[in-house]
Protein backbone atom coordinates (compact mmCIF):
# COMPACT_ATOMS: atom_id res chain seq x y z
CA UNK A 1 0.00 0.00 0.00
CA UNK A 2 1.31 3.50 -0.81
CA UNK A 3 0.68 4.63 2.76
CA UNK A 4 3.53 2.36 3.91
CA UNK A 5 5.93 4.38 1.79
CA UNK A 6 4.50 7.72 2.90
CA UNK A 7 4.60 6.55 6.53
CA UNK A 8 8.25 5.56 6.18
CA UNK A 9 9.01 8.93 4.58
CA UNK A 10 7.20 10.79 7.38
CA UNK A 11 8.94 8.78 10.09
CA UNK A 12 12.33 9.54 8.54
CA UNK A 13 11.54 13.27 8.46
CA UNK A 14 10.14 13.35 12.01
CA UNK A 15 13.22 11.51 13.29
CA UNK A 16 15.56 13.75 11.31
CA UNK A 17 13.92 16.94 12.56
CA UNK A 18 14.04 15.67 16.16
CA UNK A 19 17.72 14.75 15.90
CA UNK A 20 18.46 18.08 14.14
CA UNK A 21 16.81 19.97 17.01
CA UNK A 22 18.73 17.92 19.56
CA UNK A 23 22.03 18.71 17.82
CA UNK A 24 21.04 22.38 17.82
CA UNK A 25 20.17 22.27 21.52
CA UNK A 26 23.44 20.48 22.33
CA UNK A 27 25.34 23.28 20.58
CA UNK A 28 23.27 25.92 22.35
CA UNK A 29 21.24 27.24 19.39
CA UNK A 30 17.48 27.21 19.07
CA UNK A 31 17.57 25.91 15.49
CA UNK A 32 17.45 22.67 13.58
CA UNK A 33 20.89 21.63 12.34
CA UNK A 34 20.75 19.26 9.41
CA UNK A 35 17.34 17.71 10.13
CA UNK A 36 16.41 17.29 6.48
CA UNK A 37 19.86 15.91 5.64
CA UNK A 38 19.63 13.34 8.43
CA UNK A 39 16.13 12.39 7.22
CA UNK A 40 17.45 11.86 3.68
CA UNK A 41 20.19 9.56 4.96
CA UNK A 42 17.64 7.61 7.03
CA UNK A 43 15.38 7.23 3.98
CA UNK A 44 18.22 5.98 1.79
CA UNK A 45 19.38 3.49 4.43
CA UNK A 46 15.81 2.42 5.24
CA UNK A 47 14.85 1.81 1.62
CA UNK A 48 18.11 -0.01 1.03
CA UNK A 49 17.46 -2.36 3.95
CA UNK A 50 13.89 -3.03 2.81
CA UNK A 51 14.96 -3.66 -0.78
CA UNK A 52 17.59 -6.18 0.28
CA UNK A 53 15.02 -8.09 2.28
CA UNK A 54 12.60 -7.94 -0.65
CA UNK A 55 10.06 -5.99 1.42
CA UNK A 56 9.96 -2.95 -0.85
CA UNK A 57 6.90 -3.47 -3.05
CA UNK A 58 6.00 -1.22 -5.97
CA UNK A 59 2.94 0.35 -4.26
CA UNK A 60 5.08 1.16 -1.21
CA UNK A 61 7.60 2.88 -3.45
CA UNK A 62 4.85 4.89 -5.12
CA UNK A 63 3.98 6.39 -1.73
CA UNK A 64 7.47 7.93 -1.63
CA UNK A 65 7.92 8.69 -5.33
CA UNK A 66 4.69 10.71 -5.46
CA UNK A 67 5.98 13.21 -2.92
CA UNK A 68 9.31 13.48 -4.71
CA UNK A 69 7.43 14.34 -7.89
CA UNK A 70 5.37 16.95 -6.03
CA UNK A 71 8.59 18.72 -5.19
CA UNK A 72 8.58 21.31 -7.98
CA UNK A 73 4.91 22.34 -7.52
CA UNK A 74 5.49 22.60 -3.77
CA UNK A 75 8.48 24.85 -4.41
CA UNK A 76 6.30 27.00 -6.68
CA UNK A 77 3.77 27.30 -3.84
CA UNK A 78 6.67 28.23 -1.54
CA UNK A 79 7.78 30.93 -4.00
CA UNK A 80 4.21 32.26 -4.12
CA UNK A 81 4.15 32.57 -0.32
CA UNK A 82 7.41 34.51 0.01
CA UNK A 83 7.49 38.02 1.39
CA UNK A 84 8.63 39.51 -1.93
CA UNK A 85 7.30 42.95 -1.11
CA UNK A 86 9.16 42.85 2.22
CA UNK A 87 12.39 42.05 0.39
CA UNK A 88 11.98 44.97 -1.99
CA UNK A 89 10.80 47.44 0.64
CA UNK A 90 13.87 46.80 2.81
CA UNK A 91 15.58 49.59 0.91
CA UNK A 92 18.74 49.83 -1.13
CA UNK A 93 21.05 48.60 1.59
CA UNK A 94 19.18 45.34 2.16
CA UNK A 95 18.97 44.73 -1.59
CA UNK A 96 22.67 45.45 -2.04
CA UNK A 97 23.64 43.23 0.92
CA UNK A 98 21.58 40.33 -0.46
CA UNK A 99 22.78 40.73 -4.03
CA UNK A 100 26.45 41.17 -3.09
CA UNK A 101 26.33 37.98 -1.01
CA UNK A 102 24.70 36.09 -3.89
CA UNK A 103 27.21 37.44 -6.43
CA UNK A 104 30.25 36.46 -4.34
CA UNK A 105 28.67 33.08 -3.59
CA UNK A 106 28.15 32.27 -7.26
CA UNK A 107 31.82 33.05 -7.95
CA UNK A 108 32.82 30.87 -5.01
CA UNK A 109 30.66 27.95 -6.24
CA UNK A 110 32.35 28.23 -9.64
CA UNK A 111 35.82 28.10 -8.09
CA UNK A 112 35.05 25.23 -5.70
CA UNK A 113 33.14 23.21 -8.31
CA UNK A 114 36.04 23.39 -10.74
CA UNK A 115 38.49 22.42 -8.01
CA UNK A 116 36.27 19.55 -6.87
CA UNK A 117 35.90 18.35 -10.44
CA UNK A 118 39.67 18.23 -10.92
CA UNK A 119 40.19 16.25 -7.75
CA UNK A 120 37.60 13.74 -8.82
CA UNK A 121 38.71 13.20 -12.40
CA UNK A 122 41.69 10.86 -11.79
CA UNK A 123 39.62 8.35 -9.81
Amino acid sequence: MPIYGTALLSLCLLTGLTVGRMIGAALGVNADIGGVGIAMILLILGCDALQRRGLMKAPTESGIVFWGQMYVPIVVAMAASQNVLGALSGGLMAIMAGLFAVGLSFVLVGVLAKKGGKEESPS
Partner: protein, 248 residues
Protein backbone atom coordinates in the same frame (compact mmCIF):
# COMPACT_ATOMS: atom_id res chain seq x y z
CA UNK B 1 -19.69 34.52 -5.75
CA UNK B 2 -19.44 34.37 -1.97
CA UNK B 3 -20.43 30.69 -2.14
CA UNK B 4 -17.48 30.02 -4.41
CA UNK B 5 -15.19 32.05 -2.18
CA UNK B 6 -16.19 30.18 0.93
CA UNK B 7 -15.76 26.80 -0.78
CA UNK B 8 -12.27 27.85 -1.93
CA UNK B 9 -11.34 29.19 1.49
CA UNK B 10 -12.65 26.14 3.38
CA UNK B 11 -10.80 23.74 1.08
CA UNK B 12 -7.61 25.74 1.01
CA UNK B 13 -5.20 22.93 0.19
CA UNK B 14 -7.32 21.80 -2.77
CA UNK B 15 -7.51 25.38 -4.04
CA UNK B 16 -3.72 25.49 -3.80
CA UNK B 17 -3.32 22.23 -5.74
CA UNK B 18 -5.61 23.57 -8.48
CA UNK B 19 -3.94 26.98 -8.65
CA UNK B 20 -0.40 25.62 -8.68
CA UNK B 21 -1.41 22.92 -11.16
CA UNK B 22 -2.68 25.53 -13.60
CA UNK B 23 0.48 27.60 -13.00
CA UNK B 24 2.64 24.57 -13.86
CA UNK B 25 0.60 23.87 -16.97
CA UNK B 26 0.91 27.43 -18.24
CA UNK B 27 4.63 27.54 -17.36
CA UNK B 28 5.54 24.31 -19.14
CA UNK B 29 3.50 25.39 -22.14
CA UNK B 30 5.26 28.76 -22.21
CA UNK B 31 8.65 27.07 -21.79
CA UNK B 32 8.07 24.86 -24.81
CA UNK B 33 6.27 27.30 -27.10
CA UNK B 34 7.81 30.64 -26.20
CA UNK B 35 11.39 29.75 -25.25
CA UNK B 36 11.69 26.42 -27.14
CA UNK B 37 12.67 24.73 -23.89
CA UNK B 38 15.62 27.03 -23.28
CA UNK B 39 14.10 28.33 -20.05
CA UNK B 40 12.94 25.42 -17.89
CA UNK B 41 9.20 25.25 -17.15
CA UNK B 42 9.84 25.12 -13.41
CA UNK B 43 11.96 28.29 -13.64
CA UNK B 44 9.04 30.09 -15.25
CA UNK B 45 6.62 28.66 -12.68
CA UNK B 46 8.81 29.88 -9.80
CA UNK B 47 9.00 33.36 -11.32
CA UNK B 48 5.22 33.44 -11.76
CA UNK B 49 4.95 32.36 -8.12
CA UNK B 50 7.21 35.20 -6.98
CA UNK B 51 5.31 37.66 -9.14
CA UNK B 52 1.98 36.53 -7.64
CA UNK B 53 3.50 36.96 -4.17
CA UNK B 54 4.61 40.49 -5.06
CA UNK B 55 1.19 41.43 -6.43
CA UNK B 56 -0.58 40.00 -3.37
CA UNK B 57 1.91 42.00 -1.31
CA UNK B 58 1.37 40.18 1.98
CA UNK B 59 3.91 38.94 4.47
CA UNK B 60 3.25 35.42 3.22
CA UNK B 61 2.65 36.38 -0.38
CA UNK B 62 -0.57 35.04 -1.90
CA UNK B 63 -1.19 32.97 1.23
CA UNK B 64 -2.37 36.18 2.90
CA UNK B 65 -5.38 36.27 0.56
CA UNK B 66 -7.98 34.29 2.56
CA UNK B 67 -9.14 32.35 -0.49
CA UNK B 68 -5.55 31.27 -1.23
CA UNK B 69 -4.36 30.52 2.29
CA UNK B 70 -3.83 26.88 1.29
CA UNK B 71 -0.85 27.91 -0.83
CA UNK B 72 0.91 28.66 2.44
CA UNK B 73 0.23 25.14 3.67
CA UNK B 74 1.29 23.56 0.38
CA UNK B 75 4.50 25.61 0.22
CA UNK B 76 5.10 25.57 3.98
CA UNK B 77 7.96 23.89 5.79
CA UNK B 78 6.12 20.60 6.48
CA UNK B 79 5.23 19.53 2.95
CA UNK B 80 8.34 21.15 1.53
CA UNK B 81 10.63 19.10 3.75
CA UNK B 82 8.59 15.96 3.06
CA UNK B 83 9.00 16.43 -0.69
CA UNK B 84 12.70 17.24 -0.37
CA UNK B 85 13.41 14.09 1.62
CA UNK B 86 11.38 12.08 -0.91
CA UNK B 87 13.68 13.29 -3.71
CA UNK B 88 16.50 11.40 -2.00
CA UNK B 89 14.70 8.14 -2.83
CA UNK B 90 16.84 6.21 -5.29
CA UNK B 91 19.97 8.24 -4.57
CA UNK B 92 22.95 6.13 -3.61
CA UNK B 93 24.79 6.84 -0.40
CA UNK B 94 28.16 6.91 -2.22
CA UNK B 95 27.10 10.00 -4.17
CA UNK B 96 26.69 11.94 -0.93
CA UNK B 97 29.95 10.65 0.50
CA UNK B 98 31.85 11.63 -2.65
CA UNK B 99 30.89 15.28 -2.26
CA UNK B 100 31.02 15.16 1.54
CA UNK B 101 34.37 16.80 2.30
CA UNK B 102 34.06 19.61 -0.24
CA UNK B 103 30.44 20.04 0.94
CA UNK B 104 31.58 20.70 4.51
CA UNK B 105 34.30 23.07 3.31
CA UNK B 106 31.78 24.96 1.17
CA UNK B 107 29.46 25.36 4.17
CA UNK B 108 32.07 27.18 6.23
CA UNK B 109 33.55 29.19 3.37
CA UNK B 110 30.05 30.10 2.14
CA UNK B 111 28.95 31.32 5.58
CA UNK B 112 32.02 33.51 6.00
CA UNK B 113 31.69 34.95 2.49
CA UNK B 114 28.03 35.87 3.03
CA UNK B 115 28.74 37.45 6.44
CA UNK B 116 31.59 39.37 4.86
CA UNK B 117 29.47 40.55 1.91
CA UNK B 118 26.59 41.71 4.12
CA UNK B 119 28.95 43.31 6.64
CA UNK B 120 30.86 45.13 3.88
CA UNK B 121 27.64 46.61 2.47
CA UNK B 122 26.55 47.65 5.98
CA UNK B 123 29.92 49.35 6.43
CA UNK B 124 29.60 51.10 3.05
CA UNK B 125 26.20 52.42 4.15
CA UNK B 126 27.70 53.99 7.24
CA UNK B 127 27.29 51.39 9.99
CA UNK B 128 30.32 51.34 12.27
CA UNK B 129 29.29 49.18 15.24
CA UNK B 130 30.08 45.46 15.41
CA UNK B 131 26.51 44.53 16.43
CA UNK B 132 24.83 46.08 13.39
CA UNK B 133 27.50 44.94 10.96
CA UNK B 134 27.35 41.35 12.24
CA UNK B 135 23.54 41.31 12.16
CA UNK B 136 23.28 42.59 8.59
CA UNK B 137 26.02 40.16 7.59
CA UNK B 138 24.00 37.40 9.23
CA UNK B 139 20.96 38.45 7.20
CA UNK B 140 23.04 38.08 4.06
CA UNK B 141 23.54 34.45 5.15
CA UNK B 142 19.80 33.67 5.50
CA UNK B 143 16.74 35.52 6.72
CA UNK B 144 16.68 33.22 9.75
CA UNK B 145 20.35 33.63 10.72
CA UNK B 146 19.86 37.42 10.63
CA UNK B 147 17.20 37.82 13.32
CA UNK B 148 18.61 34.96 15.45
CA UNK B 149 22.07 36.53 15.49
CA UNK B 150 20.71 40.05 15.92
CA UNK B 151 18.52 38.94 18.81
CA UNK B 152 21.41 37.18 20.52
CA UNK B 153 23.84 40.12 20.35
CA UNK B 154 21.25 42.84 21.00
CA UNK B 155 20.78 44.55 17.65
CA UNK B 156 18.07 47.20 17.21
CA UNK B 157 14.79 46.10 15.68
CA UNK B 158 15.42 48.34 12.69
CA UNK B 159 18.70 46.55 11.95
CA UNK B 160 17.04 43.15 12.46
CA UNK B 161 14.32 44.11 9.96
CA UNK B 162 17.03 45.07 7.47
CA UNK B 163 18.78 41.74 7.99
CA UNK B 164 15.55 39.85 7.26
CA UNK B 165 15.06 41.90 4.08
CA UNK B 166 18.65 41.17 3.00
CA UNK B 167 18.05 37.44 3.50
CA UNK B 168 14.81 37.57 1.50
CA UNK B 169 16.57 39.38 -1.34
CA UNK B 170 19.23 36.68 -1.30
CA UNK B 171 16.70 33.83 -1.42
CA UNK B 172 14.79 35.40 -4.30
CA UNK B 173 17.96 36.30 -6.23
CA UNK B 174 19.21 32.70 -5.94
CA UNK B 175 15.85 31.36 -7.14
CA UNK B 176 15.90 33.56 -10.24
CA UNK B 177 19.62 33.62 -11.09
CA UNK B 178 20.56 29.95 -10.65
CA UNK B 179 19.11 28.54 -13.91
CA UNK B 180 20.84 31.31 -15.86
CA UNK B 181 24.25 30.94 -14.19
CA UNK B 182 24.27 27.15 -13.72
CA UNK B 183 26.30 26.46 -16.84
CA UNK B 184 28.90 29.16 -16.15
CA UNK B 185 29.66 27.83 -12.65
CA UNK B 186 29.67 24.14 -13.67
CA UNK B 187 26.51 23.28 -11.74
CA UNK B 188 25.69 20.04 -13.55
CA UNK B 189 26.76 17.21 -11.25
CA UNK B 190 26.04 15.96 -7.71
CA UNK B 191 29.31 17.27 -6.20
CA UNK B 192 28.78 20.74 -7.65
CA UNK B 193 25.19 20.70 -6.33
CA UNK B 194 26.47 19.88 -2.83
CA UNK B 195 28.95 22.78 -3.08
CA UNK B 196 26.14 25.03 -4.33
CA UNK B 197 23.88 24.07 -1.41
CA UNK B 198 26.68 24.63 1.08
CA UNK B 199 27.79 27.99 -0.27
CA UNK B 200 24.34 29.50 -0.94
CA UNK B 201 22.75 27.99 2.14
CA UNK B 202 19.40 29.73 1.80
CA UNK B 203 17.03 26.74 1.81
CA UNK B 204 14.26 28.20 -0.30
CA UNK B 205 16.71 29.73 -2.78
CA UNK B 206 18.73 26.54 -3.18
CA UNK B 207 15.66 24.35 -3.51
CA UNK B 208 13.93 26.52 -6.06
CA UNK B 209 17.16 27.33 -7.89
CA UNK B 210 18.04 23.66 -8.35
CA UNK B 211 14.47 22.72 -9.24
CA UNK B 212 14.62 25.29 -12.03
CA UNK B 213 18.02 24.03 -13.19
CA UNK B 214 17.85 20.24 -12.93
CA UNK B 215 15.51 18.51 -10.45
CA UNK B 216 17.94 15.55 -10.27
CA UNK B 217 20.40 17.79 -8.39
CA UNK B 218 17.88 18.77 -5.69
CA UNK B 219 18.72 16.16 -3.01
CA UNK B 220 22.43 16.95 -3.19
CA UNK B 221 22.00 20.69 -2.76
CA UNK B 222 19.40 20.20 -0.06
CA UNK B 223 21.74 17.87 1.84
CA UNK B 224 24.33 20.58 2.51
CA UNK B 225 21.96 23.55 2.63
CA UNK B 226 20.09 21.92 5.51
CA UNK B 227 23.14 22.47 7.74
CA UNK B 228 23.71 26.09 6.75
CA UNK B 229 21.08 27.98 8.74
CA UNK B 230 21.80 26.03 11.92
CA UNK B 231 25.54 26.51 11.53
CA UNK B 232 24.99 30.20 10.81
CA UNK B 233 22.92 30.60 13.98
CA UNK B 234 25.76 28.90 15.84
CA UNK B 235 28.68 30.88 14.36
CA UNK B 236 26.97 34.28 13.92
CA UNK B 237 26.60 35.39 17.54
CA UNK B 238 29.86 33.67 18.57
CA UNK B 239 32.84 33.38 16.23
CA UNK B 240 31.77 35.93 13.64
CA UNK B 241 30.66 38.51 16.21
CA UNK B 242 34.02 38.13 17.95
CA UNK B 243 35.86 38.65 14.66
CA UNK B 244 33.73 41.73 13.91
CA UNK B 245 34.45 43.10 17.40
CA UNK B 246 38.21 42.99 16.83
CA UNK B 247 37.75 45.37 13.89
CA UNK B 248 35.10 47.77 15.22
Amino acid sequence: MSTLESVFAKNGLLTAFALIGVTMLVSYWASEKLTRGRLHGSAIAIMIGLLMALLAGGKSGVADVPMLSGVGLMGGAMLRDLAIVATAFGVRMEEFLKGGVIGVVSLFVGLFVSFFAGGAVAFAFGYRDAVSITTIGAGAATYIVGPVTGGAIGASSEVIALSIAAGLVKAIAVMIATPFLAKAIGLNNPSAAMIFGGVMGTNSGVMAGLAATDPKLVPYGAMTATFYTGLGCLLGPSVIFMIARTFF
